[in-house]
């Protein structure tokens, strides 16, 4: 817990959510998944911070917002190592890893131009077919995407 305090002190949050241990290269995709561009509360984004585990890491601190669990779990698509800290009154009241759901609705984009999801006003749906390599399959056109090939909607 001492470590957490030190990191969180960069911009201490009274209430809100801190997402830590995001691989640097995944940071802006996580920002997108959480829809942070559309938020009105104050958000601190740390990029290329030093980390014992990764060398470099990213961190996102969102004031006054606690995300729904299924929203946070979407982060696992691009940042399976991410850690979620829920902050209330300056204290970390909950700390947990993100877990990849079996099915993803409306998060991943299918890059197949002939896929129905790119031609109808509808949500995409993907099944996670391999958790270790993070491989997903479009439930409509059956195209398969792995790791960096996975694009986030919007």
């Amino acid at each position: 817990m001492r470590n957490d305090k030190k990191e969180l002190a960069v911009a201490a949050l009274r209430n809100g959510t801190v997402i830590d241990h995001i691989p640097t290269e995944a940071l802006f995709r996580v920002v997108r998944i959480l829809g942070i561009e559309e938020m009105s509360t104050s958000v601190t984004i740390g990029y290329n911070l030093e980390s014992h585990r990764f060398g470099r890491k990213g961190i996102i601190k969102v004031a006054d917002v606690e995300f729904a669990e299924d929203v946070l779990n979407r982060i696992a698509i691009v940042a399976p190592t991410a850690m979620v800290n829920i902050i209330r009154d300056y204290e970390v009241v909950e700390k947990r890893p993100v877990t990849l759901p079996d099915e993803l609705t409306g998060i991943v984009r299918c890059t197949n131009p002939k896929c129905i999801t790119n031609n109808e006003p509808m949500h995409t749906r993907f099944r996670v077919t391999d958790r270790d390599t993070i491989t997903v399959r479009c439930l409509y056109c059956n195209h398969v995407y792995r790791g960096d090939e996975i694009e986030i909607e919007r």
Partner: protein, 307 residues
């Protein structure tokens, strides 16, 4: 999704496949009846395919059902910008079942999510064409008398050819040995190779369409090698005739071997094969009507064997 729909062969388990084959056999013996009397079948062809549409409509007509629909999206409201969802919802008010072909991949799956009327996929772009697979399977069963333990040789475009992928998925239940014969550019995709490994299915990959391969086969499934699939046109010119079957190549083959092809063929089967009793591709297409009668009655919950 509404459970009686028929969208992808992968959704159908072994028992259901066997049930469909049993129905197909029944309809070959009883192609004409009135079991769809009073039923309305919509055939929505957002992409034209005369061959598939005639086969489905013949299947309906021989069972006494009625057909509504369109054969080309330019004559439908899609050309006025209507969404697929709206078209399906509209047609659902009129029809007991919807047979649809669409140029977009996943269109039939999506249709099952917006209506309770059963959907039969008659082809969605490069994705699925499960009625073709059922007629292929039936053709194999009928010509070989069994499905278990056959040597199935697939030749030509194994990369983009959806019919060979679906046939592989359907045959995996029956302990096959696969020979995959193609140029390196058009080899069987990694996901299907991995599936064979995972399920312990024996397979061999060849670039030569050799005598040894032909002579060991129970089924030779030919596909079209299309010029537009090649990034390098010189490569196409080099390989296009390597995977052409000629009558003389069948000299040492098993007497029971049969040549299948989803049709239309271009030049991958020389016309001198046509009169060989081992050529089965024209009868294969005829089985399509019975297979589609099986699919339609299953989707409508009608059991012809219990009528």
């Amino acid at each position: 999704m509404n459970s009686s729909s028929f969208v992808a062969i992968d959704d159908i388990n072994k028992q259901e496949l066997l049930d469909l084959l049993e129905r197909t056999r029944y309809f070959e013996e009883h192609p004409n009846s009135k079991i769809l009397d009073g039923r309305v079948v919509a055939t929505l062809f957002f992409e034209p395919s005369t061959r598939t549409r005639l086969s489905f409509e013949t299947a309906v007509n021989r069972l006494g059902g009625r057909v509504i629909g369109f054969s080309d999206a330019s004559t439908s409201s899609t050309s006025k910008g209507e969404t697929l969802k709206d078209t399906i919802k509209m047609v659902s008010n009129y029809a007991d079942i919807i047979v649809m072909r669409h140029f977009l991949e996943g269109a039939a799956q999506y249709a099952t999510e917006v209506t309770d009327v059963p959907i039969v996929n008659a082809g969605d772009g490069a994705n699925q064409h499960p009625s073709q697979t059922l007629l292929d399977l039936y053709s194999i069963l009928k010509t070989q008398g069994r499905l278990e333990g056959l040597v199935i040789t697939m030749v030509g475009d194994l990369k983009y050819g959806r019919t060979v992928h679906s046939l592989l998925m359907a045959m995996r239940h029956f302990k096959p040995v696969f020979n995959f014969v193609s140029s390196p550019e058009l080899r069987m995709p990694e996901e299907y190779i991995r599936l064979c490994d995972r399920e312990g299915i024996e397979y061999h990959e060849y670039t030569d369409f050799s005598k040894e391969v032909i002579d060991s086969s129970d089924i030779i499934y030919m596909t079209r090698v299309q010029r537009e699939r090649f990034s390098d046109i010189m490569e196409y010119e080099r390989v296009k005739n390597l995977y052409t079957l000629r009558n003389a190549m069948l000299d040492g083959s098993k007497p029971t071997v049969r040549i299948l092809h989803p049709l239309p063929r271009v030049n991958e089967i020389n016309t001198d094969v046509d009169d060989n009793p081992k050529a089965y591709y024209f009868e294969q297409a005829r089985n399509g009507v019975f297979a589609r009668q099986a699919i339609l009655t299953r989707a409508l919950g009608i059991d012809p064997l219990k009528l």
